[in-house]
């Protein structure tokens, strides 16, 4: 049981980093990113490509960072003259194009069969202690991200972000450099997403294009909406709640003797129903955004 709990906690923490990242874009800056999973994919493929070229994990992390900076800058460039909904569709398309490339360029990425056998980051002899150390690292990364983002959004920069979200034209009229703001926010949000992907790759030991389906982005969206758009604590809580519900579905099936097809539908109902239910009935999420509280 504890082994299972450790696994759920590790995955929840990895997703919480993705949720924090999406929340910074969508919740604070109003950037509706439907290609979030592509940022994650930069991290996973960074780790995988370094491994397949016999380079160490450090090189993998560096490669992931280079990739994610490029993708984040592309996203930011696209945002220049698009409304939020249009930008969402644009990022979705780029995510799909990147997934197509990862599937098709067999010589580089291993194609649809992916790259397997990526070693665990911490080889201590026993798999359990290795997993415990990895969890501690993931947790540390999550907390670091949380604090960094909190500092960022409580600064003046955070105020300009909210202005970008609420009144972009007013922000421009005040002389804010909207392109620059968007670029910086995308870069800040991209780093933990790539780090999450990098750690995920070494945890799962396998990287493939099937991990980058657009539906994964929508899982992260559910976490953010359930937790509360514009609240860091909300994003983390949302990730934990959704991941725990996911993990509990099979137990509910066993307990109530439900056929396994229902489990499949149940997962969709949890994501779709969670999203729509919260948007309609509690749009502020579990932990509402705190208005004010900005230190100058």
């Amino acid at each position: 049981m504890s082994e299972f709990a450790l696994h759920v906690a590790t995955i929840a923490a990895l997703y919480a980093m993705l949720a924090l990242s999406l929340n910074l874009q969508a919740g604070f800056a109003g950037l509706i990113n439907f290609g979030q999973i592509a940022l994650f994919g930069c991290g996973t493929y960074g780790a995988a490509l370094a491994f397949s070229h016999a380079l160490g994990p450090l090189a993998g992390f560096a490669l992931g960072l280079v990739l994610v900076v490029l993708v984040a800058l592309l996203f930011a460039r696209l945002g220049r003259n698009l409304g939020a909904d249009y930008w969402g569709i644009a990022t979705l398309s780029i995510g799909e194009i990147l997934r197509t490339i990862a599937t098709n360029e067999i010589d580089i990425t291993g194609g649809a069969q992916g790259i397997g056998g990526i070693p665990a980051l911490f080889d201590t002899g026993s798999p359990l202690s290795g997993r415990l150390i990895l969890f501690a690292v993931v947790l540390a990364a999550l907390i670091a991200t949380w604090f960094a983002f909190r500092r960022l959004t409580q600064s003046k920069f955070g105020l300009s972000l909210r202005l970008l979200r609420e009144e972009p034209q007013l922000a421009a009229a005040f002389g804010y450099d909207l392109d620059g703001l968007r670029r910086r926010i995308m870069l800040a949000a991209a780093l933990p997403a790539a780090l999450s992907g990098f750690l995920f790759a070494h945890y799962l030991t396998f990287v493939g294009p099937d991990q980058l389906f657009a539906s994964e982005t929508f899982v992260i969206w559910t976490m953010v909406v359930v937790g509360g758009l514009g609240s860091h604590a909300g994003a983390v809580i949302g990730a934990i709640v959704v991941q725990c519900l996911f993990a509990l579905v099979p137990f509910a099936k066993d307990a109530f003797g439900l056929p396994s097809e229902f489990v499949a539908a149940m997962r969709l109902v949890l994501i779709g129903g969670g999203l729509i239910g919260f948007l309609l009935l509690r749009p502020q999420g579990l932990i509402p955004e705190r208005i004010g509280g900005v230190r100058g």
Partner: protein
């Protein structure tokens, strides 16, 4: 409001977990994709497993107790598949887990199970990387090299020299195309083009017309479900079927196609006419009222049956004991998918395939 509902939901689920009664029967686990892009294959895998369980329990179960297979959905997502595998091992305490379908999921869950000292039986992935999972991993499905060699020899024997390969742009299609090309070129043939189509399109006319421009001696293809039905239909409509077509896993490629569309096709398929295979095919038709949807149900069936046979032989379900017994049982074991023999790395070393041709009156064994 919503918070309260979800809170109660969580409480209910946790209570449900605690309330799960201790089971007396013997349980093993299975992880298959019941939703997502591979749901059709996953559902068929589940059917095979179900048929085997029915049959084993009707004959008295395993070690005198009823057998239960806890089937979990992977959703086609590696994190969910790993959730499921960890749940099966850490909570249900199963000695063995069978599954999955796509190599990208089979590899990580296999590696996890091996680390935990549990048995893993691969029933759907044919990537050659499966071979390296570890000492308690088995495959009842022949890996790429096994089926590619057979079909390449069969194609070469028809006298076709220049061929075009058509397959889905996924892990299965990539493996099939690569494996076939390697074996076929060893035999002096030439693969003039490999066309990997994106699954789930509304039409494959454009892909077919591109392939036809190469004017090959034959098309070698593999496809499942809706894609296969659409490709066969459109090949017929465009007249591309005047060139010979060779189906890798015939029944899977043509499951949803009208006979008119696929008359004259050559192909290979699993051997379902062995002593156990024929009765399996009949049991499947009886229970589900249809022909096989894919070629994958038989492996799920064989995995459960061979596990039960090994557990009975070992007199225990302890993984190491069953592993030793599996190696013993896996020598000319009469499976529904043909004779199963494990090689030194516990992979299925040989599979007896059928050579088939569709005629006006039915399916001929060549």
């Amino acid at each position: 409001m919503m918070v309260r509902i979800s809170a109660w939901l969580t409480v209910g689920m946790v209570a449900a977990v605690i309330a799960v009664p201790a089971k007396a029967d013997i349980a093993i686990g299975a992880v298959v994709p019941l939703s997502g892009a591979s749901a059709t294959q996953g559902e068929d895998q589940r059917r095979g497993i179900e048929l085997a369980v029915d049959e084993i329990n009707a004959a008295g179960g395993v070690l005198g107790q009823p057998l239960k297979v806890i089937v979990e959905d992977s959703g086609g997502r590696p994190p969910s598949a790993l959730d499921a595998a960890k749940k099966l091992v850490a909570v249900d305490k199963v000695p063995a887990v069978i599954g999955e379908y796509s190599s990208g999921i089979t590899l990580p869950i296999g590696q996890y199970l091996v680390q935990e000292g549990k048995l893993h039986v691969n029933i759907g992935s044919s990537s050659n990387k499966i071979r390296d999972i570890g000492p308690t991993a088995f495959s009842v499905i022949g890996l790429e090299a096994v089926s590619s060699k057979f079909s390449a020899e069969d194609v070469a024997a028809q006298g076709w020299k220049n061929i075009v390969i058509v397959g889905p742009n996924n892990a299965y299609g990539h493996g099939m195309a690569e494996g076939f090309k390697t074996e076929f070129e060893k035999l002096g043939g030439k693969v003039v083009s490999t066309l990997l189509y994106t699954e789930g399109q509304t039409s494959y006319r454009r892909e077919l017309q591109q392939a036809a421009q190469y004017k090959p001696d034959a098309f070698i293809y593999s496809a499942y479900g809706k894609d296969g039905a659409l490709i066969n239909r459109e090949a017929f409509e465009l007249g591309v079927n005047k060139t010979p077509w060779y189906a890798i896993y015939f029944s899977m490629c043509t499951a949803d196609s009208k006979p008119e569309y696929v008359v004259g096709q050559y192909g290979m398929d699993l051997n379902y006419i062995g002593p156990d295979g024929k009765s399996y095919e009949e049991a499947y038709k009886k229970k589900y009222g249809a022909d096989f949807k894919t070629s994958f149900s038989g492996y799920g069936y064989d995995a459960v049956k061979i596990f039960a046979a090994a557990a009975n032989k070992a007199g225990s379900v302890e993984p190491q004991a069953v592993k030793a017994a599996l190696i013993e049982v896996g020598k000319d074991y009469p499976g529904a998918t043909g004779t199963i023999t494990f090689d030194a790395e516990r992979q299925r070393s040989y599979q007896p395939y059928l050579k088939l041709k569709k005629t006006e009156t039915g399916m001929d064994v060549r």
